[in-house]
Each structure stands twice: as C-alpha cells, then as structure tokens.
C-alpha cells in the first residue's frame, strides 16, 4: 500500500475577481522508501500541494475537489483537532530556512524532547536518549554535547540536520520537504541530500521533495513530478524525465539549466514560458538612440576599466581609540583589468567580497585604498560629484533582487525615464517618452508596461525593467550583480539571453558577478575567483573550467552540481 495518495486535488484561492486556481487535477502515489520530487517554477503550485496535504492552506485557500489518503486512510476531511495530531506525528515537515524553523531560545534537546513527548508515549529520560540517537542519526558529531547547544551555535547545514532530526522524531510515515536545501551553500546541500536519501532508504518513510532546482532532483529523487501553472505536466522516473522528457515544458525547463560542462551561445528552447516577451528586432546601432552620442569617447588604448590594489574595510567594533577598533577587510588588494567589449566574471561564495567590488567601482562605496580607472581616468581622486558623474553615467548596474531594486511607488516609465531626465539626455518630453517606450520594447516588455507599477510584474519582468533603466544612460560599462540568482531557471535563461544580445549589439563591456559557476561559464569571457576579499585566480573562462590553477578554484569546481542523464 502506498504511503500517501492524492487523487484529483484542486486548490482554489477565491478572491474578488474570481477565484485563482493554484493547483488542479493533481494526483500522486508515494511508496515506502521512495523519494518523489516535485519540480516547477515559482507559482507552479508545488508548495500549495504540500500545504493542502497538511491541511494548512493559507486563507482564503480551499480544496474543493480531491482526496488525500495517508496509509489508505482518508485525511483531507478530518476535523481540525484530529488533523493536528497527524501533523508532526505522521507527516513530518522540513522547511526552507533552518534558522527560522528552530526556536532560538530553546536548546536542541528541549525542542527535540518536547516534540518526542508530544507525539510518543515515552518518559522524559527516554525522550532525551532518543534525541541523542536522532542527532547521531542525522550525522551530528558529539551528539551528547551538541544536544545541549542553542540553534545559533550550529552552522546552517548543521541546523538543517537538526530540523531533519525534528521531523523524524515522531517516526512519521511521510516527510514533506519544501525547498530543504535552497538556503544552503552548494557543498552543504550535497551532504544534506545524501543524508535525506540515506534516512529514507533506512527507515522506509516516503518523502516528497519540493524544489525548483533540477540539480537537487537529479541528486536525490527516484521519481519526478513536473508542475506548470498548477497542473502536473509529466510524472516519471528521474532518469527518464531528465534525459528524455515528453512534454515541451519539461524540455524547455531542462534546456534552460545552465550547463556546467560546455559553453553554449544561447539558451535554446526557452520560449515555451509565456512571459518570454516579444523578440525585439535587431537594431542598427549607428542610427539608434542607444548608440548615439557616447559623450567624450576618448581614443584611450588599453582596458576600459582597471582596478589597482582596491581595498575596502567595514568597521565591526567601534571605539574612540584607534587601537581598539576592529575591521572586516571586505576587499583586500584586488587588481584586475577589463578590456573593452569583454565580459569579465567575478565568482566566489557569499561573503567573498565580489559585490563590494562592484559597489566600489560604481561609487556606492568609497574605497579605503586603491585606484579605479575608467577609460584611463582615475575616479577616486576626482573630487566633485559633478566631475565624477560624467564617468559614472557611463557605468550602470543591474542588481540582484528585482523586488527591491525598483522603487515601488514610481511608475515604470518614470523609473526608466529618471536617468534620462536627470542627465538631460533628451531635449523634450516627447523625446523622453519615445526613448522610454523604445527601451521597454527593446528589453521585451513593450510600451504597455510604462504606466504600470513594478509590483504588477513578475521577477523576470522586473529584471527587464532594471535592464531598461540601466541602459537609459547609454552606458558603455554594465555591472551585473547576481542578476539572475533570484529568478527561476527558465527566466534566468531568458534574461541571460537578453543580456548577451544587448552586449553584442551595443558592444557593452560587462562585469558579471555570480556565485553560480555554470552561469559564469555561459556568460563570461574571463573570470576572477574571489575568496575572503582577495582575488585568488584570474583566467580565461574555458581555462579556468578545464585547468584550474589554484586549489580553491578546484574545490569550487568540484562542488558544482552536475545533472546526471543529460
């Protein structure tokens, strides 16, 4: 008998303008010791299914159709109290963020024993013994000592192990894991996935893993269910789905995953996703506004951007006495050149200082030491803002988070027009309007987007707005700070395609920052690897990926997730 069965589930969110169907015609069976992956992009209805199974749909969500069986017993129509007893005891749950799913004021022991005693008929001493057992089961060293610790004393990966222990402690039949490794670094992700797989096979529970990440799916799951817009498009064994998908959506989803093993010119097949936008016609750079009047183009030979011994430190401990002050060296003696027309990548783990370098170059932070040259002119010694602005205008930045990088109180057309108006790049209001519409068109949004507000757009569309704004000053140098890491893979592929097209058309020079090595491989010409504020290695992209010189680069490359079956 299957652990968990869902038949023809439909979930709706009624609202003023008709109800939104979050999931429909969803059916699945989960066997003992099986891991089923549910994959899909944001808004596909993956988490909705998990919440509906748990009976925890957020109001006003309802499940008007469908049945859920746990071990053959129907659970979707149970009264609240009985469902509450099933949650946690018979269905365990693992959430995305291990920090917020643990209580920071209780020791691990308190949290584990409390949960064990709530669900199993055991005495406190027995519960404590079990807690220690569980910790060693999930691979935490010295469980007798660690059990007395508080959550903040554990690293992110260790915390997620504790969360897994918590979900296991009532010996559940089914575990639902909602993006269990999304908040973790790649190296830790691999360990956690191994652990989950081992536990499932040993104990025979059924596990559903919800993720947007094809790499996770290929690592851990036995079967995959692909969801798109609330519907199941395809279900099958992982190998089969990854290597030979039937549905066009699955095909485009897989083709959108950046390949770590070879460089491709563009991402193919990503047009299935409807927001792909109108492909803009190639523009003639000689006559188009974007190509005109690059003010003060000097006949400068050599690199467009050059950074010498750049350093930046943040004060971590303030003091009146200079000797008592403590600093964090965010960037420590970084030097590199970016040639005209080149895409230079910076890669490194979080906290390696790559974003700080970007913010130093475009003037958000002031460097503590070092020099920044743009087109042969040293920028840090230029005193007045007006003198610097002339150069700053030629470099623009695209930010990571499309939800906070646009002012939610301004209309899209005003956001894009702002740099044009401020720098007086157009002579009349109608000209500004024409340019804005043209820019919006060019990033695949269309002029209809102008009068709307940013929140009316999805993450990918917002990133397009960001790109339009960055292009509005007619920059020669574009800094992209993790421009796609907040986006779904198919959207990421579209945005990367767009950036690539623009770069080629306009002859832009780019600094591309990412922690994602496959993306770096697809986009960059040369790459710098950063660690703890220092530049470890600079090499041609292909050289770095084929023959990394430094040990750290090798280590990073080893951690890169590889899709099996491609």
């Amino acid at each position: 008998m299957s652990r968990l069965t869902i038949e023809n589930m439909k979930v709706e969110f009624p609202s003023r303008r008709g109800s939104v169907v979050a999931a429909q015609e969803v059916g699945l069976e989960l066997a003992s010791g099986e891991i089923l992956g549910i994959v899909g992009e944001s808004g596909a209805g993956k988490s909705t299914i998990a919440n509906a199974v748990m009976g925890l749909l957020e109001p006003p969500g309802i499940m008007p159709e469908g049945r859920v069986y746990l071990e053959g017993e129907r659970i979707d129509n149970l009264p609240y109290e009985r469902m509450r007893k099933i949650r946690g005891k018979r269905i365990g749950m693992i959430f995305q963020d291990p920090l917020t799913s643990l209580n920071p004021l209780q020791t691990i022991e308190e949290q584990l024993t409390e949960t064990i005693m709530a669900h199993l008929p055991v005495k406190e001493a027995e519960a404590k013994r079990r807690a220690i057992d569980l910790l060693s089961q999930v691979g935490i060293p010295d469980p007798e000592i660690r059990v007395k610790h508080y959550p903040h004393q554990f690293s992110g990966g260790m915390r997620q192990r504790v969360v897994i222990a918590l979900s296991l402690c009532a010996e559940p039949d089914v575990i639902l894991a909602d993006e269990p490794t999304t908040a973790l670094d790649v190296s830790i992700q691999a360990q956690i996935l191994d652990l989950m797989r081992k536990l499932v096979k040993e104990s025979g529970v059924g596990m559903i893993i919800i993720t947007h990440d094809m790499g996770v799916i290929s690592d851990v799951s036995d079967r995959v269910m692909v969801m798109y817009r609330g519907k199941v498009v395809e279900t099958g064994p992982t190998r089969k789905i990854l290597s030979d998908p039937d549905h066009p959506y699955t095909k485009s989803l897989i083709s959108a995953v950046p390949r770590p093993d070879k460089r491709m010119n563009r991402f193919p097949l990503v047009e299935y996703i409807e927001e792909a936008g109108v492909p803009s016609k190639p523009l003639d750079i000689k006559t188009h506004w974007l190509g005109q009047s690059r003010d003060f183009v000097k006949d400068h030979q050599g690199p467009l951007v050059s950074v010498k011994d750049l350093a930046m430190r943040f004060t971590t401990v303030r003091s009146m006495l200079p000797s008592k002050r403590k600093y964090l060296n965010a960037v420590d003696g970084v030097s590199f050149d970016i040639e005209n027309g080149e895409v230079f990548g910076l890669v490194g783990e979080s906290g390696s200082g790559k974003s700080t370098v970007a913010r130093l170059i475009c003037g958000i932070y002031q460097p503590f030491a070092g020099e920044i040259f743009f087109d042969g002119t040293e920028l840090t010694s230029l005193g007045s803002r007006i003198a610097v602005n002339k150069y700053r205008r030629q470099m623009q930045m695209i930010f990571q988070d499309p939800f906070s990088s646009l002012n939610g109180r301004m209309r899209v057309r005003d956001i894009v027009a702002e740099p044009i108006r401020f720098h007086k790049l157009a002579s009349s209001r109608s000209e500004v309007k024409a340019i804005v519409n043209d820019l919006l068109d060019h990033v695949g949004l269309g002029a209809m987007a102008g009068p709307k507000f940013p929140h009316e757009f999805s993450g990918g569309q917002r990133q397009r707005i960001s790109i339009a704004r960055a292009l509005a000053t007619r920059p020669r140098f574009l800094i992209c700070d993790e421009p796609t890491s907040a986006l779904d893979v198919s959207i990421q592929a579209q945005i990367l395609n767009l950036l690539k097209d623009l770069q080629e058309e306009l002859g832009l020079t780019m600094l591309f920052i990412s922690h994602d090595l496959p993306v770096i491989r697809q986009v960059c010409d040369r790459v710098g690897v950063m660690r703890n504020g220092k530049l470890v290695e600079v090499a041609e992209t292909e050289t770095l990926f084929e023959m990394p010189k430094s040990d750290y680069s090798k280590h990073l490359l080893d951690l890169m997730p590889r899709l099996q079956g491609l």
């Binding site: 913010r359 475009c362 003037g363 958000i364 803002r385 610097v388 602005n389 700053r392 205008r393 470099m395 623009q396 930045m397 930010f399 990571q400 988070d401 906070s404 990088s405 646009l406 002012n407 939610g408 109180r409 301004m410 702002e418 740099p419 401020f422 720098h423 507000f453 929140h455 960001s466 704004r469 000053t473």
Partner: protein, 306 residues
C-alpha cells in the same frame, strides 16, 4: 480644457475607485468636510455669535437641550453657564480646534520628516546629534515646552498683542513637542529603505542625496507618517484644551472645543451634562473621521495594496 482633463483623469484613477468602493471612507469624508465647512462658515450658520457679549443672555444660562423639559427650541443643544448657545459655541469652538490641530500637526510633520530623513539617511554623527536632541525633547512634557514657548513669546512681543498671537504660540508649542514622533518613525523607516537596492540604483544614476531622499525614500516612508498624523491631530486638539485651561492657550472669551469640555466638566455632576457631552461628541466624531481617512489614505497611496 486642462481642468476638464484633470477631472477626467481623477475620476478614472485608482484613488477615486478605491474611495468609491469603501462606504466607511465616503461617510468619513462627508463628516470631515461637513465639520470643516460648518466651522469655517460658522458666522453664517450659527444661530448666535457666542463671542458677541450683546447676544449673551445670562438669564438663559444652563438651559437643557431643546427636547428636554425646560429646553427652548432656539437653544437646540442647550446653553452653558454663561448663557451661550451650545450649538453656536461648538461651531465657533471647532474653528480654533481645527486651526490649532491641523497647523500644528503639519508644522510638526515638516520638521519631523526633514529631521528623520536626514538622520536616517546620513547616519553617523548627524544621526546621533539629531536623535539626542529628540531624546531631550521627549523628556519634556508637551505642556512644559508650550509654557516655555509662551513665556518667551510674551517676553518678546508687545504686551497687548498677546491675545491675537495666542493661537500661533499654541501651534508652535504643540508642533515643537510633536515633531519627535515623526522624526523617530521616519528615521527608522529611512534606515530600512536606504539599504534597499533601488536607492543604490539611484546613487548609481548619480542623483544627489536630496533628490534621492525626496523622490525615492520619502514616498516609501510616508505610510506610517499619515497614520501618526491623524492620531497626533486628535492629541493636538486635546493638548490645546489642556493648555487653554492653564491659561497659556486661547483666551476663555473665545473658547475652543477643548475649553468647552473642560468648562462642562464642572457641571457634569450637577446634571448639566450637555455642556461636556456635545463638544465631546463633536471632538470624537471629528477625530474618528480624520483617523479613518488617514488609514484609508495610507493604503490607497500604496500601489501594492490596490
């Protein structure tokens, strides 16, 4: 042509739509408008002029409302201890209250928002200095500040001018004690907003700090400010009453709503409840209506909530 265009756009806008679709807001607006209108045009509406000593009949003092035994139709809400018609006094009194309330809150808002924006955006010593001033300010009760301002004003201004400037002294005094709330709120919101990427994007464009503050940050921190403003408006009207009681505020010959409530307080236990209750009701209705309006305005001006 341009005017017609404006109205067409206005009736087409989301703001008007959200206004129409909430009956509570429509009622609150009507009430507010009626109160403001009737206080502004009090001389034309009110049956008596309570400030005109010739019209006051001491024999008619402490008359109950018209529908009670002993009440007279010409004194609809009764009369106070000096024989002034309550309805007329409320209409005239709400002029003073509204003037003091609105002006002092607007004044406090301007100081507070400016200080909060600058402190939150620049940080460092500017922030420290501004916020310590605010702390010091907070440790003085509003009344003390008002007394101080009043004392200084009396010292600086010629003797006989006091009656005419009394209202403005009050406004300055209340504003000076209220700006801290605005400054604190705006500062903390600004500190959150300043780290967001849209502010960095504006910096990359090259916008100077004042432009970033007013065009980008200010609209994003105004939400809580509007709500505080409506609460402060009610508080300002009440503080004005307290100050008038202490002799710092408006002279008793031209009473405000607050003064009326206080006068009535003395008669509350001897059965003349109407002197306190009617001005009190007027105050409650006004404050409630303004509060509801402020609450709605906060949500309606946020494009995300439309």
């Amino acid at each position: 042509m341009i005017v017609g265009d404006f109205w067409k756009r206005f009736f087409d806008s989301d703001l008007w739509w959200s206004f129409k679709s909430s009956p509570v807001v429509v009622i609150a607006t009507i009430v507010t408008v009626v109160i403001i209108f009737s206080s502004v045009f009090a001389p034309f509406i009110a049956p008596f002029n309570p400030f005109d000593l010739a019209q006051i009949d001491l024999m008619a003092s402490l008359k109950p409302p018209a529908w009670m035994e002993g009440g007279e139709l010409q004194y609809l809400f009764g009369t106070d201890d000096q024989g002034r018609d309550m309805l007329s006094t409320i209409l005239y009194g709400s002029r003073v209250s509204l003037l003091v309330g609105f002006l002092s809150v607007i004044f406090a808002m301007i100081i507070g928002i400016a200080a909060g924006l600058v402190a939150g955006y620049s940080g460092g010593w500017v922030d420290a200095v501004l916020m310590r001033i605010a702390d010091v300010q907070l440790s003085f009760p509003a009344i003390l500040i008002a007394l101080l301002v009043d004392g200084v004003a009396r010292g600086l201004l010629p003797n006989n001018s006091h009656e005419t400037v009394a209202v403005y002294v009050l406004i300055v005094a209340i504003a000076l004690s209220f700006w801290v709330q605005f400054a604190r709120t705006v500062r903390s919101s600004t500190m959150v907003e300043r780290t967001k990427e849209y502010v960095q994007a504006a910096q990359v464009i090259g916008l100077p700090a004042p432009l970033i503050l007013f065009r980008h940050i200010l609209p994003n921190v105004m939400g809580p400010v509007l709500v505080i403003a409506t609460i402060q408006l009610a508080l300002a009207i009440i503080i004005e009453a307290t100050l008038s009681f202490l002799g710092v505020g408006v002279p008793p010959t031209s009473p405000s709503l607050g003064t009326l409530i206080r006068i009535g307080n003395d008669y509350l236990f001897s059965g003349e409840w109407w002197i306190t209750v009617f001005p009190g009701l007027a105050l409650v209705i006004l404050v409630l209506a303004v509060n509801l309006l402020g609450d709605w305005l906060r949500d309606a001006l946020n494009p995300k909530l439309r």
